[in-house]
């Protein structure tokens, strides 16, 4: 029998995390959250989430870092901005979801072979190299690394799209690709310098 404590002690809370979320872009007003639940009620994905947006906001500001960063909610968010436009306190919940995603990726707190971080990684690699995205190659690359068997299931759709002229294997790229690399390097340097 595995015993698990279900209630947290004060000492289990992570205050650094709590401070971080209220300093993050979009989280400035998180202390004003009324827990009214408009965010959860308007979220089209909340019915699939382990913690709804309202609960996630509360857990974050109280420093329940592990619960928040391992929650399915941050990966379910499709950034439709319903929560943000409805929030009476001006909390930018959608942007906080982005911030939580970044943090979970940094701390590697996501399920193994999970496609979303891999998608993000391949996407940014492709932008850096070519300046543009070629959808066909992006899908192939992500599936190769996460669920290559699904490539076979998708081949009939792929063929239909090629037939309709909607999918090309010719990589899209821009002329001045060096500019993109220089731009991204400069962002990284400034980020380091200003400790952002």
């Amino acid at each position: 029998m595995e015993l698990k404590r279900t209630i947290k002690f004060e000492a289990d809370r992570d205050y650094e995390f709590s401070r971080w979320i209220s300093r993050t872009v979009g989280g400035e007003n998180i202390r004003h959250c009324l827990q009214c639940g408009l965010c959860s009620g308007n979220c089209p994905l909340s019915l699939y989430m382990d913690y709804t947006p309202r609960r996630l906001l509360h857990l974050s500001r109280e420093g329940f870092k592990d619960e928040v960063l391992t929650s399915s909610s941050i990966w379910l968010c499709t950034t439709c901005y319903n929560c943000m436009v409805r929030c009476p306190k001006g909390i930018n919940t959608t942007h906080l979801m982005y911030a939580l995603k970044q943090r979970a990726i940094q701390e590697k707190l996501y399920p193994k072979r999970f496609p979303i971080p891999e998608m993000a990684r391949q996407f940014s690699r492709m932008v850096r190299k070519s300046g543009r995205i070629t959808e066909s190659w992006l899908i192939v690359r992500v599936l190769m690394r996460t669920a290559f068997w699904r490539l076979f299931g998708m081949s009939s759709l792929g063929l239909k799209l090629i037939h309709a002229g909607r999918m090309s294997l010719k990589p899209e790229k821009i002329e001045r690709r060096a500019e993109i690399a220089a731009l991204l390097d400069s962002v990284a340097a400034t980020k380091k310098e200003l400790a952002l």
Partner: protein
């Protein structure tokens, strides 16, 4: 004035029909556009989850290049439209973000500018061209074609730049001017699931299913979209989402394809054959004799 047309990656790939039809509409209505030279990917929603500061810089490059040409940007793709708008807001609101963006652009010989306006084709067609001018140019009225107008999330949220956040009507009015009949579609700004179909398929398919079922219930002949990802989700995964061969298929087209048809553009030139669900049978049934 000439707009700097910023297609984005999807309009060169899965959303090719959007580009073909939109350019046909703009030509027919004498709106002048010129593709932004050497534009780069906006970063979409995906880049935001790895490195948001980099995504503002990427959008900044496009804004700066349009500013250098002294042009406003026209961005038909919802993700591009939002990212460009968002970048302008965040650069304005957060000094640190401004520093990052300005320095990175300086590094490649460009200057950030607040002056560029980011415009959506719906807005330009409605407010610059105007409904009377459009109605006057209609050659093939879309008589009795019942359309469910589907806007998706990101062109109206979070920034309601030109239309209501929950009940936008700009596409409704444009299509009505072309003779179509708009059915009431309360899910018009509900999420299509974005890239969820690729990452968490069972959830993505659920979201797609609701949208299709509601359109059928409302008696729509066709769903009109403004976003390449919405169109792709509802079109390519329709059979999988419905999972019921008895349900009729629901054609999903871009609003610009319907407008271009009404303005007399030939079907093959506006990518009507590119849809995986075919719209031609319903047009034939309604005796809409398009070119």
């Amino acid at each position: 004035m000439t707009y700097a047309y910023y297609p984005g990656c999807s309009l060169k790939g899965t959303g090719r029909a959007y580009e073909e039809s939109l350019l046909a509409v703009l030509r027919a209505l004498s709106v002048d556009v010129k593709e932004l030279e050497d534009w780069n990917c906006c970063g979409a929603t995906t880049y935001m989850s790895v490195d948001e500061l980099a995504s503002y810089a990427l959008a900044g490059r496009n804004l700066a290049m349009a500013a250098r040409e002294n042009q406003d940007i026209m961005a038909p793709c919802s993700a591009c439209y939002l990212v460009l708008n968002k970048t302008q807001h965040y650069v304005h609101d957060y000094p640190d973000i401004r520093t990052v963006v300005e320095r990175s652009l300086t590094a490649i010989g460009l200057t950030y500018s607040d002056k560029v306006q980011v415009r959506h084709p719906l807005e330009v067609l409605l407010h610059e061209v105007g409904l009377p001018a459009i109605a006057a140019k209609v050659k093939v009225p879309l008589k009795d074609l019942k359309v469910a107008p589907y806007y998706g999330c990101q062109i109206v949220r979070p920034y309601a730049t030109f239309d209501d956040q929950l009940n936008p009507t700009s596409m409704d009015r444009l299509l009505e001017a072309c003779g179509a009949k708009i059915v009431s579609y309360p899910l018009k700004t509900r999420c299509c699931g974005g890239s969820q179909k690729g990452t968490l398929p069972e959830v993505g398919l659920d979201l797609i299913r609701y949208l299709l079922v509601e359109a059928q219930k409302r008696g729509a002949d066709v769903i009109a979209t403004v976003c390449p990802l919405c169109q792709f989700n509802l079109d390519a995964f329709q059979q999988e989402a419905q999972n019921d061969p008895k349900l009729p298929s629901m054609p999903v087209v871009y609003f610009s394809q319907l407008m271009a048809l009404a303005l007399g553009a030939p079907a093959t030139a506006i990518g009507l054959q590119r849809g995986l669900t075919s719209v031609q049978p319903i047009l034939a049934k309604k005796e809409i004799a398009y070119a």
